[in-house]
Symmetry: C2
Subunit: 213 residues, 2 copies
Amino acid sequence: MRLAELSEASGVSTATIKYYLRERLLPQGRRISATQADYDESHLRRLRLVRALIQVGRVPVATAREVLSAVDDDSLGRTIRLGAALWSLPHGEDPDDNDPEVAVARREVDLLLDRLGWSDACEIGDLSPNYRALVAVMVRLKHLGYPCDADYLQPYAEQLGRLAVLDLDNLETLPTAVEQVEAAVADAVLFEPVLLCLRRLAQEQESARRFGL
Amino acid sequence: MRLAELSEASGVSTATIKYYLRERLLPQGRRISATQADYDESHLRRLRLVRALIQVGRVPVATAREVLSAVDDDSLGRTIRLGAALWSLPHGEDPDDNDPEVAVARREVDLLLDRLGWSDACEIGDLSPNYRALVAVMVRLKHLGYPCDADYLQPYAEQLGRLAVLDLDNLETLPTAVEQVEAAVADAVLFEPVLLCLRRLAQEQESARRFGL
């Protein structure tokens, strides 16, 4: 399809598409004349993701470019590729290693991963910004007077492990690795608010069930 | 305990405590002389919550006051009291009722609640900002080209229902209704980032298990 058709199919203006092309967030189309290029379904899909990242995730353009270059890097194994794309997204703060509580929180997280049998997550460990963010948030909760330890987190982590199985089952319905990684990025940006709404609705339901309205 | 002791026990400066007292975020202590008051454990607990709301939740003072007045309103039934406290927190956007997609999303949410047997959540319906936020976020996903319907959401909602049972079990270990509602508010502000970190770690683990590192 031509630029105007891509714009119509995506609902993104031609000016914005040209901006994304210039910023290398969207790959160039196949040149068919000096002034025209042809775009396909992969451009439409990528445009959707760029819009989700920038408009909803409020990700800076440079960060979006970094995320997308990991999405496209087929030299990486699937898990590392997924990881590299997701790890490039903005995430929680890192722990402050001068704080003595960090070592305590780290021990609790390692104990938790060990008990869950999440040996791969344990091996990735500190490399993962999600591991570091979990340690940081546990330190913060401790300082605020709301400590949580491996015992408290374990049943939640087990449930979330079941959700992750669903997530990966859904990803695996997609035919190619690049589509899977794109979908994982879209999920992280777009689906987390859905889950938080659903969780709060579930709490309302459970409260009503126990205590009445 | 005196003001200085409350400050030491909580790690909050006396100036900040005085500010919270003036703003009616913290109830006055029991007057023991013209210039001194006595504070107890309930002040310490409330101070912890105020700090969580303001410093972590970045809730404006007026909103925090509204949340806390619902926490303290023992004329309400437990579910409504919980709801009133949680609903006063900042939450997702409301749907734009001029958008025809809103009716579509609303039907999917109602279908979902019905299938889950969440009849109380259904009855609360649109009154709940979480219901409205879920509709709004589904509309947004649709416009971005990532539609999700009741079929897609159902297994996630079922898992989150199990998490809500854990949440309420934890709440019920607390002795009084006010402590339970306080804990639910702290959970909404502080524990959601923990769950999102855990979910992403769970995805990493599941990805490594399926695809290798």
